[in-house]
Symmetry: C2
């Protein structure tokens, strides 16, 4: 048999052919009018998906670079901050803030659990003078979606700013930056944006820009003021990853055609189908509040989690993701973001069923497929 490869990880995600082939175009100069026009269009499209009237800057880095940009541009040495850590990426906020010697108060949340806005409100109350609250929109390590709207309401009444990692979330989950009063929002090219990894995106609210003015943490490559200043010349301060920007423009053509609301609905259907599928064969979700970006599923008792992932990846070429340290082997993650369709869910579940048969898990085969298929069929329009 020819074994085709299926990428079903929560980033990088599959890319439309039209976007892939755009990278094979000859290189144009990054200071040319031609490239400036592409960059301008991408920045307009970014405003559309961020749902903001603010400039959304294009950084040539992974999402972690944009996270660092959010920290170094808004804060000063010794500033008090609160981070919500319910997984690997929430924890990364704490790590970056600690690297810059900020005064970090971490709200530790068990993997898969959420932090309520009320809890955040009480944490803020007991930590007066907190300059920023850091959260994740969708915690990619657990598949959990956080109540950003709730956090924003809590934070909006104070001088504190709310900084949100929307790397895997934006485009697949609703997070209207301006309407909800998110102060710094970041994302990356390789998730719902249907583009290869290498670009990250960041926007600041008026309230955040005021903090940018007073921020004294050192910065150069990630300086928001440099990015803002270059914008007047329709360019970026440093040579951008031009071919990725060109690809992002092509991907936005597709996203615009679908429409943001439809894209979010699409992800909801995929998420519902994935969850219904795994439940139908007796598996349990890791997350108490799963989003539609990925589905994290607990490895059932008696099954070797590492073997499960390895079998799916190597034998069936269905590239799902395992759990990250310190929970390796305990659960697995099926991505359904970016350029993912209904039959990708069917493929993932079929690969999962074949693997579970091999590992002697006791279940009625085909059940996950028909459960998922039912939801896809009902919503197929």
């Amino acid at each position: 048999m020819i074994k085709k490869h299926y990428l079903l990880s929560p980033g990088p995600t599959p890319i439309p052919d039209k976007v892939l082939s755009a990278a094979a175009q000859p290189i144009i100069h990054h200071r040319s009018k031609e490239f400036s026009n592409i960059l301008k269009q991408v920045m307009e499209d970014l405003k559309y998906v961020f749902q903001t009237r603010q400039d959304v800057f294009v950084l040539s880095s992974s999402g972690t670079g944009a996270m660092e940009a959010a920290v170094v541009n808004t804060l000063s040495p010794g500033d008090k901050v609160i981070t919500i850590n319910g997984g690997k990426f929430g924890h990364r906020w704490s790590n970056i803030c600690s690297a810059y010697e900020l005064n970090v108060m971490e709200i530790e949340v068990e993997w898969g659990e959420v932090c309520s806005p009320e809890y955040l409100a009480s944490a803020l109350k007991s930590n007066p003078g907190t300059k920023a609250v850091f959260s994740t929109l969708c915690e990619t390590s657990t598949g959990t979606i956080y109540d950003i709207q709730g956090y924003a309401k809590v934070v909006a009444t104070s001088a504190t700013i709310l900084i949100v990692d929307g790397i895997s979330g934006i485009g697949a989950a609703s997070c209207p930056m301006d309407e909800w009063n998110v102060d710094v929002l970041i994302s990356g090219s390789q998730k719902s944006f249907m583009t290869p990894p290498g670009l990250s995106y960041i926007a600041f609210s008026d309230k955040a820009w005021k903090q940018v003015k007073n921020s004294t943490l050192p910065k150069y490559y990630f300086s928001a003021n440099s990015a803002k200043e270059s914008l007047s010349r329709e360019t970026t301060p440093w040579t951008p990853a031009t071919s990725l920007v060109i690809q992002q423009q092509k991907a936005f053509e597709i996203i615009r055609e679908i429409g943001l609301d439809n894209l979010i609905k699409h992800h909801r259907i995929l998420g519902n189908a994935a969850r219904a599928g795994v439940k139908a064969i007796g598996l349990e979700m890791l997350s108490k509040n799963p989003g539609n970006i990925l589905t994290a599923v607990k490895v059932p008792e008696g099954i070797d989690g590492n073997k499960l992932i390895k079998t799916m990846q190597k034998k069936y070429k269905v590239y799902i993701a395992g759990a990250q340290s310190p929970h390796t082997g305990e659960f697995f993650r099926i991505g359904h973001l970016g350029y993912s369709g209904g039959f990708d869910i069917i493929t993932a579940l079929s690969g999962l069923e074949m693997t579970l048969m091999e590992l002697n898990y006791n279940f009625k085969t085909g059940q996950s497929l028909s459960a998922a298929q039912k939801i896809l069929k009902e919503n197929w329009s």
Copy 2:
């Protein structure tokens, strides 16, 4: 007439078709064995062009990101440093060091001039306790090549480290890192490496690693220790720009086939041809010590420099670069690095001659072409 587009800027440079089309391959996961093998190969190839036995790390950023990485990983607040500033990129070292509140002693060199090793030695003598000297291998804003071997000899006898920006230089100019005792060497994908922009490269000598251990400047995304630690798992700390890494691997296949020595010779021939060409029509080089990466040529008296560049770029579609601020309009730069061939020099000179005719410059047409052609013909093997 169909007006074809020719990219002749000192970065980004033209990319071989084989490298361009590699970006159109479907995305693979960055934590897969398949990608690890590609990354390992690229890191081996980087050692080959850096001429070092040290690890050369792949960063997802422009070259400026690698410059920042060189600073934040080796230094601590208040450290005394010397920067050699003979153009825009030398000046960038000063800017980055100042952004991190280092104690910067800048050797200001006129654009196109060089700094002698003797001058550096005396500057070091009058600044005891200097932690690092920053230089550029090829100053892209002026086309000047610096005496890195000479600087390294001066610095090697002290506790100071030598940090070299080889972004446009490496691969086109000789700079054997280990043999010359360069302590930190950086480069980028979009210059002689025949790959689109978006990746940068950095290596540290044993002496530099010792300074990394003691460095207390804040860092996260650009942390050398994180990169080193991830290497044991054959990966990068953050999601890398996978498609660019795959392209870089393809480009290295071409570079390995040519061989580094031949590649450097090739650039020497192109440089000789370009210089002979412009001299033959009475034009003057900006640089007192021009390298073979680009040729910076003074705009002759009575000619509008901005019009010259605009005409070449817009009318003849020969995309050479102008001079950067504060010397805009005073000279222009013909790039001959990366995937550039002999006839690209002929094209550049022909576009230049046609433009100069249009601007009523007094010269004997065809002279630059035959002068360049003579050198190319003699060396055509």
